[in-house]
Symmetry: C2
Subunit: 198 residues, 2 copies
Amino acid sequence: MSNSGPEIEQLIQLLARLPGLGPRSARRAVLHLIKKKDQLMIPLSAALDRAVAAVVICEVCGNVDTRSPCGICSDPRRAESGLLIVVEDVADLWALERAGVGAVRYHVLGGVLSPLDGVGPEDLSLDALVSRAPQFSEVVLAVNATVEGQTTAHYITDRLAGTGVKVSRLAHGVPVGGELDYLDEGTLSQALKARTAL
Amino acid sequence: MSNSGPEIEQLIQLLARLPGLGPRSARRAVLHLIKKKDQLMIPLSAALDRAVAAVVICEVCGNVDTRSPCGICSDPRRAESGLLIVVEDVADLWALERAGVGAVRYHVLGGVLSPLDGVGPEDLSLDALVSRAPQFSEVVLAVNATVEGQTTAHYITDRLAGTGVKVSRLAHGVPVGGELDYLDEGTLSQALKARTAL
Ligand SMILES: [Zn+2]
Ligand SMILES: [Zn+2]
């Protein structure tokens, strides 16, 4: 590809590192961008510049936003339900927001416990969760229905036992072995409504 | 997604318009970019800026490069074989270059004839091809083995009949109904070596 110039080659290599894109689809994407230079490539370049400048991680909950505390943490109506929903990552928070689960707050763990991958309690935002939990009437563990997710849920339940806060998990409705972000919105809503005490 | 800020939402919407990405994979890609801000998001933003500024379409052959005439059209060694390879789009040119087909030149049609899609001869760079062809000893039609591709090949053969230039097509080796850009490099090389006169 040396004939296309280093600018194009580098763009292909960077796009190929995005999840869901490989070298071939990255080449197709770059050609598509070049064909749609005014309608897509230049707007994407500008949007990426703006996002780089604007995006921050919320220091309270771990959400991605353009301010910290994020819009969810700053919204006083979000406190009324008293629900704090614990998720593995921001994609799951977005999935629950798309499902319209209501005026709740979130806590993004940043992963799940996974000894095989070297992920221990100190790698997740667990201390922050224990600190926040007493401000809520109920903590809902919305972790994936995987082995690691359920191990993490047990660990969090133990950590929160001393705080007196009620802990629940999403109802079964989440398919065993399935990942939250793949579910349809109705299933997610039902699973939250039918959550069970731990 | 209104809670994530317009910068993030707009970035998702633009990425979702790339081939191979939908809304869900675009959201995953944006979260991945944000997680890898220094290693991936900022370099990608810079690479896109540079590509927007640098990329041009070669006015001779239709290739994508950072100069016009492109590196292939400017390279005098590329003239020695006397071969002009006609392709539908730049992805096919790149596929042939990756296959190492040798010191050849290319002509990018910008598509294939497709009456159903409203693509007629005037929509492809056919006049430019007819003008260029007499400079070469042989024109190789490396269009996809689809109905539209073969229709286009027949049309080009007719148009070039008056020029006296030899016209060939890639050997069968290209699977019938298959697309060039999906083939492995060995198959592409073999198909060029075994090209047949029309
Ligand atoms: Zn927040
Ligand atoms: Zn050129």
